[in-house]
């Protein structure tokens, strides 16, 4: 058992490391491709060479980021086959389609049009070039859609039936999988967060140019475009975040409770704006959940159920199967003790089915199959020894969620301020303190972005597929030593590659700051 948990933990950390590394580059690709497309559209409309130089500069940085991110996702698929073989077999029929579509779209659509973007400036018509730029941006987002459809299915499995002969979930309704409300909400939330991140990146790099008093015209015009994209992005990200909370309260209420450190719910539940958890609090004791908290009254009821007086269940309520509808009527959900029992019945039914098939007992086979189908919904609970094992790591879920929300709130204020300054008070943007604020916001947005994913995936624990399969059942029969070795190899290789990639990016930014154009001369001319 200790060895199994060691393999589980190392495999978890390895997947987390590689996924977080991949997510360093993806949101910037999603957002910067849109910003570049907008800039090129402005160039085509105005035919101003100043906008052409702006477009080419940001396109270069987009290309560097794109090259850095290439192939970082492939390693995740390798891990499915090696570390997570039980999982990949169990869900292969569901996962395979979205990942295959994502690979085809990423490879063919993006690769084709990105070549036209970089190689086609004097070889294709300006209109065709612009279309290629837009199609690259759209292709990147469509690729993201299919990955998020796959991840959405993990959070809310739908559109499948379990086949005990094949031991895998078989897709019976593609549209239930592709149009899952969880997946669609995740898609918009993730892509729009990419717009926000790219907006901050553009404003931050442009502020560095302002700090050097170089390429002023490029910087100010870039801030305008990046600022609009970022402002729209953060507003819509917050709106889709609200949608995510509603979905989570319906399909993953334990995750929501962990996100808020909520042990016992109530009607008109407050939301924690800032808090420090009490590490002594656990199921069944009367310790205060928080050492310190600042709450907004009724906030969580509004966020989760869009009703100021709605009941939001806490961790202990969910374990006991307690819930109330918006009218205050008691809803009996299945308690975790009952789910564990049903899960064990499902496991017994699967064993009985296997035995009946081997012995050729048709009656027993039919009975076992019916029992399996009746209890399959809680198949994963059959692995748990107590309801407490179904509680995700509360501290990590709580703190990363609140880091994400606080950073998101700051970013909203940041973009509003920048847009006011750039149009009404441009002199403020030329102040050193403002330039440093903008540059230091770059790591903040990346922390916000990564925190969101950590909340989503840690809050899902112990499940790899909600209610159907816990993480420890998904792991392959391999040694912890092999996983440890590859973990450290990844850490070393990815750190070296990241350092090389960042140095290329910084070198190009520094090189661009030494160039000049006519627009810079005009904007810096005291006569203007």
């Amino acid at each position: 058992m200790d060895d199994l948990m060691s393999v589980v933990d190392w495999s978890r950390w390895q997947f987390a490391l590689t996924a977080m590394y991949h997510w360093l580059f993806v949101p910037l690709t999603l957002g910067l491709s849109l910003i570049v497309a907008i800039m090129e559209s402005i160039y085509l409309r105005t035919r101003d060479s100043h906008w052409l130089s702006i477009t080419k500069f940001w396109m270069l940085l987009f290309g560097i980021n794109f090259a850095c991110g290439v192939a970082t996702g492939i390693i995740l698929e390798f891990e499915f086959g090696t570390n997570w073989s039980n999982y990949s077999w169990f869900v292969g029929d569901i996962f395979g389609a979205p990942l295959a579509i994502e690979g085809l779209l990423a490879f063919f659509m993006e690769s084709t049009f990105i070549a036209v973007m970089f190689f086609g400036w004097k070889k294709v018509s300006p209109g065709f070039h612009l279309a290629a730029t837009w199609l690259t941006a759209i292709g990147a987002s469509i690729s993201a859609l299919w990955i998020l459809v796959a991840n959405g299915w993990m959070q809310y499995p739908a559109g499948m039936e379990f086949d005990p002969d094949q031991m895998r979930n078989v897709m019976v309704n593609f549209w239930d999988v592709a149009l899952s409300p969880v997946a669609i909400n995740k898609f918009f939330h993730a892509v729009l967060s990419g717009w926000t991140l790219a907006g901050v990146f553009v404003i931050g790099v442009s502020s560095w140019f302002l700090l050097l008093k170089r390429r002023t015209a490029l910087a100010l015009d870039s801030i305008k475009v990046g600022g609009w994209v970022g402002l729209i992005g953060i507003i819509l990200t917050i709106w889709t975040g609200d949608g995510s909370a509603v979905q989570v309260s319906k399909v993953q209420p334990m995750k929501l409770a962990a996100m808020e450190g909520l042990w016992r719910g109530q009607s008109g539940q407050a939301i924690v704006g800032f808090g420090i958890l009490n590490p002594s609090k656990s199921v069944g004791n009367d310790e205060d959940p928080f050492l310190f908290e600042i709450s907004i009254p009724k906030g969580l009821s509004v966020l989760a159920r869009h009703d100021v007086n709605a009941f939001v269940p806490g961790i202990e309520d969910i374990i006991d199967g307690v819930d109330y509808d918006n009218e205050g009527n008691r809803i009996n959900t299945v308690s975790y003790a009952d789910r564990i029992e049903m899960g064990r019945l499902a496991h017994d039914a699967l064993r009985a089915y296997d035995k009946a098939v081997s012995s050729g007992d048709q009656e027993a086979r039919v009975a076992a199959l019916q029992s399996l189908r009746d209890n399959y919904r809680y198949f994963g609970y059959g692995y748990l020894e107590s309801p407490e094992q179904a509680i995700p790591p509360i501290a990590m879920t709580f703190y990363t969620f609140h880091i994400m929300v606080m950073a998101g709130g700051y970013l909203l204020l940041f973009f509003v301020a920048v847009m006011i300054f750039v149009y009404r008070f441009p002199k403020i943007l030329r102040q050193r303190w403002m330039q440093w604020v903008a540059m230091l916001t770059i790591p903040v947005v990346w922390v916000c972005s990564q925190s969101g994913w950590i909340t989503a995936e840690v809050g899902r624990q112990p499940w790899i597929i909600q209610d159907l399969m816990p993480v420890r059942a998904a792991i392959s029969d391999i040694s912890a030593a092999s996983v440890q070795l590859t973990f450290w190899m990844f850490a070393a290789v990815f750190t070296l590659l990241l350092a090389a990639e960042i140095s290329i990016m910084l070198r190009q930014i520094a090189k661009a700051s030494q160039e000049s154009d006519v627009a810079d001369a005009n904007i810096n001319n005291p006569k203007n």
Partner: protein
Amino acid sequence: MISEDDVCLLSNKKKHCNRHWLQCFFYKMLIAGFYDDLFGVFPRFLLYLVHIIGSATANRPLGDIRYYVSSNIFVIFVYPNKSIAMTDIRNPEKSSRKNPIAGIWRFYSDGFRSMTVGRWLWAMILVKVAILLFVFRLFFFPDILSENYDNDEERAAAVRSSLLDR
């Protein structure tokens, strides 16, 4: 190569060599190609000079019927298209309208040749992909179920056993 009994064809002493008639054909193309590359034009009357030189290098008799057939194929089919191809090199836009595949090839080759920062990025991509595919994938990330089991029934049985024993 030429044996002691073989005599240079220019002296009109005919001897058959062991070379295949296609070799003569390719020799002629090579010579014609060199001339065309150098001067941008290949006067048709020089074809017979090439014919002789090609024959001499291949030790083929001038009267060999296959040799004449191949020469005519060259004149009728290859040379005109080769002229177009040479024209293509001088007029790329004209050629891409006639041959889209050549146009696509040129698009990518010109693009890669003109890269500056892109060269370093491509080097990084190739190193990264090589490490991922030829080191990690080959040695450290086998597909457990595909490698350890021969068919889907065995894989399903293995997964069933693993899941129910956890």
